[in-house]
């Protein structure tokens, strides 16, 4: 299911001015047609302090195996799991918008909330 990202209005720009939004430029084509390569999106870094991520939301996360790489993906599923010590934890399954079948069998597996930088709430360009 594709969910469009709304264009940033005055309110979003005002929130960016008071540092409640972060800007990210999208590189690559895996999120087309929702986000084309070169799109600039606004991220709400505090979105998941009050509520859990929901399916179909678009998030920017730190790559689990490449700390310097930030990736933008859609949340395909939210899983409640247990850590090794038995405490509950939330894991996200992330998906590209148009994954090319067979291009690479590797995926990085579920992503913990600690790697989520925030929710994509609007797009400037």
């Amino acid at each position: 299911m594709e969910v469009e990202v709304p264009r940033s209005g005055w309110m979003e720009m005002a929130l960016w001015l008071i540092r409640r939004r972060r800007l990210f430029r999208v590189t690559g084509d895996s999120m087309t047609p929702t986000l084309m390569s070169g799109a600039v999106v606004m991220l709400d870094p505090q979105a998941y302090r009050r509520q859990m991520p929901q399916e179909h939301e678009i998030v920017v996360v730190r790559h689990p195996r490449q700390a310097e790489l930030q990736i933008v993906k859609r949340v395909a599923a939210v899983i409640e799991s247990l850590t090794e010590s038995g405490s509950p934890t939330i894991l996200l399954i992330l998906a590209s918008e148009n994954a090319v079948a067979g291009s690479d069998s590797r995926t990085f597996g579920p992503v913990g909330l600690d790697l989520v930088l925030g929710k994509v709430v609007s797009r400037l360009l």
């Binding site: 940033s8 800007l23 590189t27 690559g28 895996s30 990736i71 690479d104 990085f108 400037l124 360009l125």
Partner: protein, 150 residues
């Protein structure tokens, strides 16, 4: 439109990037995954030979061994193809002009191991994967010792 112009101005300040590349960009490759599958196929090849002629061996066991051998040989081929097409770049080919031959031969050996009960082919496949192991880690500038599980 005024709002559009402001949006463009703000967008210019975007310095962080969020990658949306088609491949899962984990960048994690290791010929070890092909080696493990090839080694399993070699082991099953040997076990099939040790079982003796098909007509005297337990049919279920024989069938299982053949199935596992074929699955593992196929898996080894898949792992090699992923490494070949997704990791290796043109600059590696300049450095190792016989790179394509190495992978092509190794993939052919996977087919031979899958199709027959051929210990020589299975051993040749292991040798081919060791060769690819050495090339792969050399391109990463790392000295990683080759080993087998058995």
């Amino acid at each position: 439109m005024f709002q559009e112009a402001i949006a463009k101005l703000i967008a210019r300040t975007a310095v962080d990037t969020a990658s949306a590349h088609c491949d899962g960009p984990c960048g994690v490759y290791d010929p070890a995954s092909a080696r493990i599958a090839a080694e399993a196929a070699l082991s099953m090849t040997q076990k099939i030979i040790d079982l003796g002629p098909a007509e005297s061996a337990d049919h279920n066991t024989y069938g299982r061994f053949v199935t596992i051998k074929e699955q593992q040989a196929h898996l080894a081929k898949e792992e090699l193809l992923i490494l070949w097409t997704d990791y290796f770049k043109p600059e590696h080919l300049e450095q190792y002009p016989d790179l394509h031959d190495k992978f092509w031969n190794a993939a052919k050996l996977c087919s031979a191991v899958k199709q027959g009960v051929d210990v020589d082919a299975a051993n040749d496949l292991m040798a081919a994967i060791e060769d690819i192991h050495n090339v792969y880690w050399a391109t990463k500038g790392r000295d990683v010792a080759y080993y087998v599980a058995a």
